[in-house]
């Protein structure tokens, strides 16, 4: 044990009892150590006396600070709160912007597929289109009339298989509906469908069977190419007017619809007009026949015959037109094009759930990275706005603390 090094600790009583006893014996035996101990005691005493007792300052001020209610954290860290709000605001704006963009694109995608299915329903739901008719019909007939009053609606497929509406389905202004019973309406319906199918021949057979099953017929059909080698098939189907919508729906199920156009032409006025004129012609014809029977002079007979012949020709022509119109309105026309899908494209191999999960996670991470990047760019770009505010906040906070 080093006696010199422990001398101060001995004076201060900071040694163990054994060490104290050892040191006491050593000091007792050495007068120089006794003098040293004495000096240390006196020096300690002098140091203690030398220290003043300064007047206490600032206690009341401190107690006031400590008793002051604690400001909320956003006041104490207002600069941080401001930056956080800015970042959160930017994040929300970018989030909603991306969401709105996503919704729009999803809406565009779904619009095409829904358009084909719900075009008829949409037209029924459009009161403006049916307004002229609605006032003259019972509720049951209003819906039927609306379906009959369908005018042109065109959906065209785009390259990626989505659809967009080309023209709204409103009745032509010139065809303002007269107060005619809905069952009497005469509408010529036409549709054009182009569908991508696996096998054009089989699909054509299905379409033919479908037309037959509803009481229609195939007006014409043609097929080019070989099955599996981009073959195509075309057909003109004539189906009863009442089955038109149902047949179209079933045809759309044959494959991927590329073009879907349908239009309706209300010819009720022309039909009624033709019928009336035929009746008038018939009456005129009958009167000429009566006059012919009563005529005695040759010149008179010749003149009546000539007029009778002219009226008869005109009536028969009108009757032909009426027959065509009846046929067109009774049987709607569907121009069907069936195109085989390109077989060179190999179908994507189905991925297992692990790959799906992995791809989903990677895409999610990319999304997060993109989002953080956007936030960083926003913060950087808007730094001329928020940075001075933050610096001022920091400056005043420091000032307030001082």
């Amino acid at each position: 044990m080093n006696i010199q090094e422990n001398l101060k600790a001995y004076v201060d009583g900071e040694l163990t009892p054994e060490e104290m006893e050892f040191m006491a014996k050593a000091i007792e035996a050495d007068p120089a150590l006794q003098q040293e101990v004495q000096f240390m005691k006196m020096l300690g005493f002098e140091i203690k006396k030398l220290a003043t007792e300064p007047a206490i300052e600032g206690k009341a001020e401190l107690l006031g600070k400590l008793n002051k209610p604690k400001a909320p954290w956003w006041i104490r860290h207002r600069a941080l709160a401001l930056v956080s709000c800015c970042v959160a605001g930017l994040a929300m704006v970018s989030f909603f912007a991306s969401k709105v963009g996503g919704l729009r694109s999803a809406q565009m995608e779904s619009e095409g597929s829904e358009m084909a299915v719900s075009s008829e329903a949409k037209e029924e739901a459009m009161p403006s289109a049916d307004a002229p008719v609605a006032g003259y019909m019972t509720p049951e007939r209003q819906s039927a009339g609306a379906a009959e009053f369908r005018s042109r609606s065109t959906n065209e497929g785009t390259a990626n298989g989505t659809f967009k509406s080309v023209s709204p389905s409103t009745p032509p202004a010139g065809n303002a509906a007269p107060p005619v019973d809905a069952d009497f309406r005469k509408v010529i319906r036409n549709a054009e469908l182009e569908i991508k199918v696996e096998d054009a021949g089989k699909s054509l057979a299905k379409a033919t069977t479908l037309a037959d099953s509803v009481g229609g017929f195939v007006e014409s059909s043609s097929k080019t190419g070989q099955q599996g080698k981009n073959g195509t098939a075309n057909a003109v189907l004539r189906v009863p007017e009442k089955q038109f919508a149902r047949v179209l729906d079933q045809l759309r199920d044959l494959g991927e619809v590329v073009v879907d156009n349908s239009n309706g032409d209300d010819v009720t006025a022309e039909y009624v007009d033709l019928e009336s004129r035929i009746k008038v012609m018939k009456a005129e014809e009958d009167s000429y026949i009566t006059m012919l029977r009563a005529a005695r002079r040759t010149t008179e007979i010749l003149e009546i015959k000539e007029r009778l012949s002219r009226v008869r020709q005109e009536r028969e022509s009108m009757q032909g037109q009426l027959q065509v119109m009846k046929s067109q309105t009774r049987y709607s026309t569907i121009n069907l094009s069936l195109v085989e899908k390109v077989t060179s494209e190999k179908p994507a191999a189905p991925q297992d759930w692990g790959n799906d999960t992995w791809n989903g996670a990677v895409n999610g991470l990319k999304g997060v990275g993109r989002f953080l990047g956007q936030v960083a760019i926003f913060i950087f770009v808007y730094s001329p706005i928020w940075l001075p505010v933050v610096l001022l906040g920091w400056f005043f906070t420091r000032k307030a603390k001082q």
């Binding site: 003043t52 007792e53 300064p54 206690k59 400590l66």
Partner: protein, 170 residues
Amino acid sequence: MQENQPGGNLTIADLADAHYAVVYRFCARRVGTELAKDAAQETFLTAQRRLKDFRGESSVQVWLLGIANNHCRNLSRKTRKESPLMEAWDCNDERAEGASQIVDREALRQALGKLSPEHREVVLLHEVEGLTYEDAAKVLDVPVGTVKSRLHHAFLNLRRLLSGPEGASA
């Protein structure tokens, strides 16, 4: 107001009321009266934030002096004022009247000013504030052996300084 966990219902205001004088005097002796108020107030504001972390492993006074010591160190570093020239150590104290003097007080004040900051810290804590070696070690956040060694060397230095041509008066 936060509560002092080991102490039960003690608040920082209670602690400030009870210990402000000790802390203020310690700061005055460490950095001078000019900066003592700021150092002492900063000590209690820090203590207010850290009160929930106080485990009661030392007395409240030792804990407060530890915080105060850190603030004084930082203040000394900032103001580049390593020694307050013992301004709070009065060599003309009336209490000294009549007491036997083995050293010249002015020489002792100058000798204390010449000590290294570490030695002066430990002398202040033990000799003036009256802390044990263990408490001084907690305040300085050093082992007890370091306190013992520093005190030993501080007194050796004081003796050497006071034994010089101007120091000894006995």
